[in-house]
């Protein structure tokens, strides 16, 4: 016998939501715009994630790539890399998917107010970071300089080309990017992302650096921020783990004593430093 139990709405109860827009960003990445049922607003903070599910294909944590200033729908940027995400990539506008969340802590935007913002994104790390970038651009007066540093392996992997064009044209946004390996048409910087950091002229005391990228990137970016003398207290990073349940129970996302789905995915660097398994 099955009924819907609503008296204690279960932790694993997804909200069936609609895909209202699909955009192919690269060969392996798509952006999905999602509308919750009944015009509900997700009410997330930049840097948070949701658990996305398709019945029969399971559930996975996906970071939200749009700013909470954009409502009521929100964006998910998804790389096809497994059973669920392969299936997601087959879905068209009008398809349903299950959403739980938002989960995690998100970036501390109140602490960041009035500061110069330095964004460092590697590869698909730009997707979660974009929620904060968009937020700061939408609330432009609340922040100082906006400096975006973005690196990918290859020009074919560049995400959000439309937004990047927009950022490049904004007078009060400084955008720098590089690729590890160029193609024939590439006219920009070549080299790993850390090559872009030393030339930056910044007021280190008033600059907040927010980093999102593949695990290998953090160590090197942190080293080069350190040599620029940015204080640890001014560094935030978002860490990738397997947040299976999103509610601090299943254990998969644990970094030492910290559950990423509860205390993260955004970590203040002085906190992350205490976690031996973090980077």
């Amino acid at each position: 016998m099955l009924t819907n139990t609503t008296e204690m709405k279960d932790l694993y109860y997804p909200l069936m939501s609609d895909i209202i827009k699909v955009e192919q960003l690269t060969a392996t990445e798509k952006r999905f715009e999602i509308a919750l049922p009944d015009n509900q607003v997700l009410n997330h903070k930049p840097g948070q994630f949701v658990e996305v599910s398709l019945f029969g294909f399971g559930e996975a944590p996906i970071s939200i790539s749009s700013s909470p200033t954009k409502t009521p729908a929100f964006d998910l940027t998804v790389r096809r890399t497994g059973k669920l995400t392969d299936k997601m990539h087959e879905l068209a506008v009008g398809s349903k998917l299950g959403i739980r969340g938002p989960f995690g802590n998100g970036f501390d935007v109140d602490f960041m107010k009035g500061k110069d913002m330095l964004f460092i994104a590697g590869g698909i790390g730009l997707a979660p970071l974009k929620s904060l970038i968009d937020y700061t651009i939408d609330k432009r007066k609340d922040f100082g300089r906006i400096i975006i540093v973005y690196g990918t392996k290859h020009p074919s992997e560049i995400l959000f080309s439309n937004e990047i064009e927009k950022w490049k044209n904004l007078k009060d946004v400084e955008f720098h990017m590089t690729v590890d390996r160029p193609d024939d048409n590439w006219k920009g910087n070549i080299g790993v992302i850390t090559t872009l950091i030393p030339p930056l002229e910044i007021n280190v005391e008033n600059t907040i650096a927010s980093i999102v990228g593949p695990p290998i990137m953090y160590k090197f970016v942190l080293m080069s921020l350190n040599s620029k003398r940015i204080p640890d207290e001014n560094i935030y990073m978002s860490l990738e783990r397997r947040m299976k349940c999103g509610v601090g129970k299943c254990g998969h996302c644990q970094i030492n004593h910290s559950y990423v789905c509860q205390d993260g995915p955004v970590y203040h660097y002085p906190k992350a430093k205490e976690l031996e398994e973090a980077v």
């Binding site: 016998m1 099955l2 009924t3 819907n4 139990t5 204690m8 279960d10 932790l11 694993y12 109860y13 997804p14 069936m16 599910s53 019945f55 029969g56 294909f57 399971g58 559930e59 996975a60 790389r79 890399t81 497994g82 995400t85 349903k96 299950g98 593949p214 695990p215 990738e240 783990r241 397997r242 299976k244 349940c245 509610v247 601090g248 129970k249 299943c250 254990g251 998969h252 644990q254 970094i255 030492n256 004593h257 509860q262 031996e276 398994e277």
Partner: protein, 383 residues
Amino acid sequence: MPCYYDLMLYSHCGTKIVKQASNTMWGFLMSKEFNSKLTDLKRYFFNESDVRKFIDFLMTKAEVIAPQTKGEQSFAYNVVKNSSDVALEYPRTMQPLKKYFLPPVETLLTFKMSSNEFSEEVIEAKKQIFFGIHSYEMKGIHLLDYCLGKGKPESNYLKRRANALIIGISYKPDKYHFATSLGIDIEETEGFALFFEKVTEGYLVFVVTDEGAELIKDFSGGKPIDEQVNIEELPQQAKIKYHYNRLPQVFEHVYNSRVWDHFADKCVGCGTCNLLCPTCYCFDVRDEVGLNADDGKRQRFWDGCMLNSFAEVAGGENFRNKLAARMRHRLYRKFSYITKSSGELHCVGCGRCTRYCPADISIVEIINSLIEDYSAQQKKQAV
């Protein structure tokens, strides 16, 4: 030093029958403290035939689950069909009691892929009586109550817990038990409605809660007694070298110890220790689809942090790909990580992980090696 160490000192001493000498010696002859706590409790004397009759009586009230023999050396909790099947003296069951509250496979949702319709599985509110449970097992359940009840509570687990009545029994430690080393005495009664203490001629039955009193009131067997009875002194074999309240401190200093590599060399990474641990509760959630390729279930499965894929993410990155790191994580979860918020040790000393380890790894040996390492470090610093 974080203040939780102070909490630790008292955490295991809540409402139990306090026995100060517990760290050097197991068992006692009705010490003063024991008397003062237990004389408060109403008690009965049951001979073995009374115990069997009492189980029959319980079976008229609700489903009764108790340890039963499963081959010569193996015991398992099962629904009782016949009171004579219940094992009154047993070292431990292979599977801990958690399977009744957090089942190995549990359906969270059932769905139809074609229509995206889904519904939640309803948890039946049925009373269950658990008979013949050891104190370390009860402690394990208390620790799960904490882990699954805090933050966002696991409603299914809590519903099942609310319907459980648990009756304890004393046990004779074998070479794998080290619960008393962790401050969990054999006569710890917290969580039990009634507690059966083995004495030479039968059992002393202590009434721990009102619910227990209510239950035993209607039973015609056994006889109420007032006089004191001597309890047999039983030695503890497996011992941790330090008092349990020092263990979190040890774990603050052995993160990079070679001990992890030493034991990881022997470990095969099978995850048996996770599976049989009364306080492990990590899980995976997967969708299973039926043969019609439409009806399916979203199910929760027990998982284990000793398994290689546990910390792996979609791109293939594995954040704990070394056995030594996984073993360390498992032990830190028992003695350090959760302890920081709960103020409790999350190992109960049941000895299952050691008893059933296919590679003969002993958790007591690991802890004692870490203690040696810590103690050597301290000496070095002192020089």
